[in-house]
């Protein structure tokens, strides 16, 4: 739009301007020629007048002493000048004394003419008085030639040629300008089309981003469903325990207070465990921004023991090596999600059973360690280690890509590691995958040690 608007600005060159300029140039050329012609004629008249004056001065004595022959000699000498068509000298009685006329031209007047007499064509008539001691002796008459058209044209050829060339140039510029404008217009059209395509592409990208968000959300819900599906069995068991205890209470414990308490306690414990489970689920599915708090990863992991045991199932032995003493700063709910996800991944990597190790420890990264990728300093390390199938190099490289999964369709979302990676990076930490195919995988997480943790916690 702006391009088009600029192109249609007031300074646009129109072919009409070129035409006008060309005509103006031609007119100027003609004017210059006319002016030059006038100057030329004036100069011609001046030159011939000077020759006439010379003649007048030369013939005084001859006129005084009536030497017509000498006068004729002087007059004839003017024939050398091709500009002169006819010349003559008249005596004091206005009678012609001597003259010459070029062949084919009009003869001289019989008596001395005066200045009022007009000459035909482009000829000029020059009259010069002959005087001796201020006394008039006669008149010199000179008529210039009627300059042929061809000669005049030759004289003006240079100027006219220049004017015509300039006009042609202007016309050429006009046409080329037109071509240029056409090309510009096409370019504009192309630019507009491109801009349109661009905006379409942008829209598409936005749509796609929205779709991705929706997909991610649905994947998450799927994960929730998956998780809850695994947990439903436990929940049912808990309900069965409650129901069993209540049934025993109703049928057997009516008279025995100690038995009654045992049943009620059993039911209550099951209710507590169920409530705990529900809260975990809610925490997992809730969408909330990160709210980092000072966290003891060991405590966090300990709190998740039940959930993890439930999630990984009985075929996997779990070892806890919670040795970290420091705290770190992160969002608790997200961190729990990460640990749960990693545990589930570990379980899936060990379909035939194995050992899952969850370890925390204090780490110090010196300068240049870990390939220099990690900012040196004090960290809390969290390691989730399995003895499963491990990953090939190719899989390891893509492991944190969103939606990348090696699990069968319907089981993995491909978001677990991706979300974990994203969250750890967001929390200013590092996530590293060490794996050996056939031996197992260790996911190592480094989070900065949080020093002011105690005071914050006390509040």
């Amino acid at each position: 739009m702006t391009i088009a608007a600029r192109a249609r600005g007031p300074r646009r060159f129109k072919p009409a301007y070129a035409l006008t300029a060309a005509i103006a140039l031609l007119a100027a050329g003609i004017a210059i020629s006319a002016y030059q012609d006038r100057i030329f004629r004036a100069q011609q008249v001046r030159e011939v007048t000077v020759q006439g004056e010379i003649l007048a001065a030369s013939v005084t004595a001859a006129l005084v002493f009536g030497d017509a022959k000498t006068v004729q000699e002087h007059v004839s000498a003017l024939q050398i000048n091709p500009e002169i068509e006819a010349a003559g000298v008249y005596g004091d009685k206005k009678a012609i004394v001597a003259s010459f006329v070029r062949p084919g031209q009009e003869p001289l007047p019989r008596t001395a003419p005066d200045r009022s007499i007009a000459v035909r064509g482009r000829r000029s008539m020059i009259l010069v008085p002959v005087t001796q001691d201020r006394a008039p002796l006669g008149t010199v008459y000179i008529r210039t030639i009627d300059e042929p058209l061809s000669r005049r044209l030759t004289r003006h050829a240079a100027v006219m040629l220049l004017a015509v060339m300039a006009a042609v140039l202007m016309a050429f510029m006009g046409t080329s300008q037109r071509t240029l404008r056409e090309a510009n217009r096409q370019l504009e059209a192309r630019a507009l089309a491109l801009a349109e395509t661009n905006s379409l592409l942008q829209n598409e990208m936005e749509e796609r981003s929205k779709a991705e968000d929706a997909l991610r959300q649905s994947q998450k819900m799927e994960a929730v469903g998956h998780l809850s599906g695994g947990i439903a069995h436990d929940f049912n068991n808990l309900l069965a325990i409650i129901q069993g205890n209540l049934h025993l209470l109703k049928t057997l414990g009516g008279d025995d207070p100690s038995a009654m308490r045992t049943y009620v306690d059993g039911a209550g414990e099951a209710v507590d465990r169920a409530g705990h489970l529900v809260r975990r689920l809610l925490a997992f599915s809730r969408r909330q921004p990160l709210s980092p708090r000072s966290v003891d990863l060991g405590e966090l992991a300990t709190g998740m023991k039940d959930l993890i045991v439930q999630s990984v199932g009985g075929r996997v032995r779990i070892e806890w090596e919670l040795n970290a003493t420091g705290k770190t700063l992160c969002d608790v709910n997200q961190m729990e999600n990460v640990i749960l996800n990693l545990a589930i991944n570990a379980r899936d990597a060990m379909p035939d059973g194995g050992t899952l190790t969850i370890e925390t420890k204090d780490c110090f990264v010196p300068v240049g360690d870990l390939g220099g990728e990690v900012t040196p300093g004090e960290y809390i390390g969290l390691y989730v280690r399995d003895t499963g199938t491990g990953m090939t190099d190719d899989v390891r490289k893509r492991a944190v890509d969103p939606f990348f999964t090696t699990k069968p369709h319907g089981q993995g979302t491909g978001l677990g590691l991706s979300m974990a990676f994203g969250f750890i990076r967001q929390s200013d930490g590092y996530l590293n995958i060490e794996t050996t195919p056939g031996k197992g995988t260790t996911i190592a997480i480094l989070l900065r040690r949080h020093c002011a943790a105690e005071s914050r916690e006390a509040v």
Binding site: S58, T60, A61, A62, V64, F65, G66, D67, A68, K69, T70, E73, Q132, D133
Partner: protein, 189 residues
């Protein structure tokens, strides 16, 4: 001087004849011939420069003298009446003899028993006098010497003699002379 010489060289061939239309010089019509000569006498003055001091004042008369018998029979008086040379009125004087003190600007010498033409010329030699003689009277020539060529009045000019008399003759006039003797004798072809 070189321009004068050039003009002379260019124009000498044509200047061999100088004429006045329809002036036959037959004996029967000598009166017309002398009328022309009378006119020439004062017309020469326009083309001759006299040395400084030749005229006492601007209005001093221009003296045209005839020495010896007058062949013009009053035609000079006719010709010069009312004429001026520059601002000087022309005064005609008849003299019997030419003297050094004659104070004539133009002197026509006809010669007489009393004083021959040559004697008269000798008398005014060195004075600012334009001497005029006539071939019809004798071969002795002054500065200007009337001759008849093709029935027309012409003249020879002795420019050397003019220079001796401190006169400068215009090249225009020199161009008309039939024969012109230049200022340095020996140069004349």
């Amino acid at each position: 001087m070189s321009s004068g010489a050039l003009t002379r060289r260019l124009l000498r061939p044509i200047a061999l004849t100088v004429l006045l239309a329809a002036i036959p010089a037959h004996g029967a019509d000598r009166s017309l011939e002398y009328a022309v000569k009378a006119t020439f006498l004062y017309k020469f003055a326009s083309f001759v420069e006299w040395p400084q001091g030749s005229f006492a004042r601007e209005s001093s008369p221009f003296n045209l003298c005839v020495v010896g018998p007058d062949p013009f029979a009053g035609r000079i008086q006719e010709a010069v009446s009312g004429q001026n040379v520059g601002r000087h009125p022309i005064v005609l004087r008849q003299l019997a003899r030419a003297e050094r003190q004659s104070d004539c600007h133009v002197m026509f010498i006809s010669g007489s028993a009393n004083q021959s033409v040559a004697e008269a010329l000798e008398a005014v030699s060195g004075t600012a006098t334009l001497t005029v003689t006539d071939s019809a009277i004798g071969p002795t020539a002054g500065i200007m010497h009337f001759v008849i060529v093709d029935d027309r009045v012409s003249f020879d000019i002795d420019n050397a003699a003019a220079a001796r008399n401190r006169l400068v003759i215009s090249s225009k006039l020199l161009a008309l002379g039939r024969r012109v003797n230049v200022a340095r004798p020996g140069n004349e072809p």
